[in-house]
């Protein structure tokens, strides 16, 4: 079902490998069109297991953001974490590091990958 060359099903390992290739992979439910940037084994809107891997836009807008001062043990405080709205019809959003002064509504783009524990997208 998925676009040619995209992993199906989309595992966490394939998702992080995609990030390292500069691609933001996600899923679209074939039955209802719901999208997610955090791969799952079934759709949470309708329960369908018929979900296809999609390449999500790498540009979006900041939906919300927080600056973390007191950080978990593996991290050094003073960074920003955002939820980025990718503007797709299926309402895909991704949690990412934000390395910009951008506020809610500002345009940001996927620029590189942070790997403290595991790969996560960085937007700026």
């Amino acid at each position: 079902m998925s676009d040619a060359g995209l992993p199906d099903p989309l595992t966490h390992a394939e998702w992080t490998a995609g990030l390292r290739d500069g691609r933001l992979l996600g899923q679209r439910c074939v039955a209802c069109g719901n999208e997610t940037a955090a791969p799952k084994a079934a759709c949470n809107e309708c329960g369908s297991r018929e979900i296809e891997t999609v390449e999500l836009p790498t540009e979006g807008t900041v939906y919300t953001v927080t600056t973390i001062a007191v950080a978990p043990a593996a991290f050094e405080g003073g960074y920003r974490v955002a939820v980025v709205d990718l503007g797709t019809e299926g309402n895909a959003r991704v949690t990412a590091r934000l390395e910009a002064d951008a506020e809610i509504g500002d345009a940001v783009a996927f620029s590189d990958v942070l790997e403290v524990e595991e790969a996560v997208p960085v937007f700026r």
Partner: protein, 389 residues
Amino acid sequence: MHQARIVGVGMTNFGVHDQPLPELFSSAAFDAMDDAGVDAPAIESFYLGNAMGGQTERDTHLAPTLASHIGLAGIPCQRYEDACATSSNAFKHAVRAVEAGQHDVILVGGVERCTPTTGLDTPEMTSVFASASHRQYEQPTGLSFPGVFGLLTTRHMHEYGTTEEDLAAVAVKNHHHGTYNPRAQFGSETTVEEVLESPIVASPFHLFDCCPFSDGAAAVVVANEEAAADFSGESVAVSGVGHATDTIPLADKADFTATQSARDAANQAYEQAGVGPDDIDVVELHDCFTGAEVLAIEALGFFEDGEGGPAAANGETALDGRIPVNPSGGLKAKGHPIGATGVAQLVELTEHLRGEAGERQVEGARRGLAHNLGGDAGTTIVSILEVDA
């Protein structure tokens, strides 16, 4: 269906407790049993909430361990884990077991030790708390738990104009309530200026917008109406319990300001109790961060969406306000020993409904509501207690 009732309550002071979990829990459990007038042989089952004992103090299989410490060995015991909603989930299952006639008398409790004094240091404990966010798609970003609520609250501020001063007013109000609660971790007043001048933890939250790390325990005895009538404790009815979840991770939630699981759980509880928000006299809700209280008073129907921000500043949620919220001081001032929090809310409400809440008594309270949230509002349990139902 049987009518579940709370017939006895007990809790420790919240703060620092340098004693093992069984010893800490036993004082709350015995207080609840003595308050109910229930001896150990009458208790048929034990429902425990403990969220993090495995991570923080290498202590698991806790339900039978704690039961054995208080003379309950042999009965069926079970432990629940749902992040900060842990012991409310234990309570919900106990209530359902009584309603179904499976058990007549149940001990429900929660216990946790989270302070750096007795356990892990702040960065380690911040990591443990963050473990309630998505392991693959949130934790690796460095998102902390205050950060989770920072994301929700920042969005609320954007959509509705809620201000940092509005948030600080929640802390000021709950600290003030805490001065009347001898069990509260913080028994001192604070001011909007003091909150805003305290260091940022995760924006928009300053240190004084956040609940503390706490140690503590709480317990209640739940019984059906016939058993309750035989015990000396003045009982209150459990007229409704709702329980709902929402999508994890946060980014997949449809609406960041709704805390939809709270709305769904509240609707279930209101429906079971046959009441609505206007019928509630006193509320204990999950103010892990000041912004969480703002989201909750809207989700529970006490304020229109977008109008919860100024509620504390306007005095509407104070002890003498239109709808008193967190007379105990809430998680903010009373403290938040994760697995004990949900049951501690029920202890507070029971005391108000009995007219035993002392200086912080909500006068004439006949119906109370508890809202206990777990994770990124991934779980919420809402319970309604009343004097006679």
